[in-house]
Amino acid sequence: ATSSFMDSFNKVRGHFQTVFRSLFTEDDDCDLILLDEMDPLECDIDIVAKPKGKKPKSISQLSGGEKTLTAIALLFSLYLLKPAPFCIFDEVDAPLDDVNIEKFNRIVRKFSTDSQFIIITHNKLTMAEVDVLYGVYMEEQGVSGVTAVDFRKYDYDNILTEMQG
């Protein structure tokens, strides 16, 4: 059990360095560390992330968007180890700026050859990247309905206004 966990852990650790650099910049450092190598099946797992030349003491010093992107890098590293048939992301792009949203959408597109993605978002850039868009709205007070949405920017603004009822 230990060796199979260590095997998986080391693979994810390798993926993390690749994925992190693709989401931040190519000469950034990051790592995943087992805090107690004598107890690999139980100990805490530390995340080290140093984007863009910075030297934070821990990831809690990073900004909201940097932390979110780091967590996304970890998730996709797990997906490289074991792709799930489908992945659902509920508004995980909310803390990201426009440039990082493009990176997020690009990595989703890349992985979508092996997994189906369902992305819930309020962000127009993300909406422009998906293959099909469904609008969920209040059909009557307190009752949900769903409709297909044809996304062209002004179209969405109009639909959103209609959806507000």
């Binding site: 797990l78 048939p85 995980v92 909310a94 803390p95 998906v130 469904y134 959806m163």
Partner: protein
């Protein structure tokens, strides 16, 4: 495995029978605050067998049944069905098309069905063992789970590793 569709009726804000198709690689879901987007995610977790009400933002499991509005009364039951194409035989069954369903009546009675045949919860969870799909999957992610990963709340990092390992 390829998702085909999700059918929701009487579950949370979905008082009306609703079908959402998932034929594409990347599906986007948009809409106003409170319209029901996260409820769609809850419905998928619920039909996959989620037992913890707290994970679905409920105080009691009976809270998943549409609880009425000023203009509409409560629903008699909540029902969700999720349909797949069993491509690459990810699910260990001879069926090419698989539909799992879950029902909860106001009386508290609950049912699970596999291709419309009544079954037990563990028949459903058993189907998905090792596929990466499950109610608390590393592939179903909302912002609060991103925060848990970053703060390592209740050893969230290890739990996520174990699902992928």
């Amino acid at each position: 495995m390829k998702l085909k569709s999700l059918e929701i009726n009487g579950f949370k804000s979905f008082a009306n029978h609703t079908i959402i198709n998932f034929n594409e690689a990347i599906t986007g879901i948009v809409g106003p605050n409170g319209s029901g987007k996260s409820n769609v995610v809850d419905a998928i977790r619920w039909v996959l067998g989620e037992q913890k009400g707290r994970e679905l933002r409920l105080e009691a499991m009976s809270d998943v049944i549409f609880n009425g509005t000023k203009k509409r009364k409560v629903a008699p039951l909540a029902q969700v069905s999720l349909s797949f194409e069993n491509t690459r035989n990810v699910i260990p069954t001879d069926y090419q098309n698989v539909t799992i369903s879950r029902l909860l009546y106001r009386s508290g009675e609950s049912e699970y069905r596999l291709n419309n045949v009544p079954c037990r919860l563990k028949d459903i969870t058993g189907l998905f063992l090792d596929t990466g799909i499950g109610s608390d999957s590393y592939a179903i992610i909302a912002l609060n789970m991103v925060e848990d990963l970053l703060s390592n709340k209740e050893n969230a990092r290890r739990k996520m590793f174990e699902q992928a390992a």
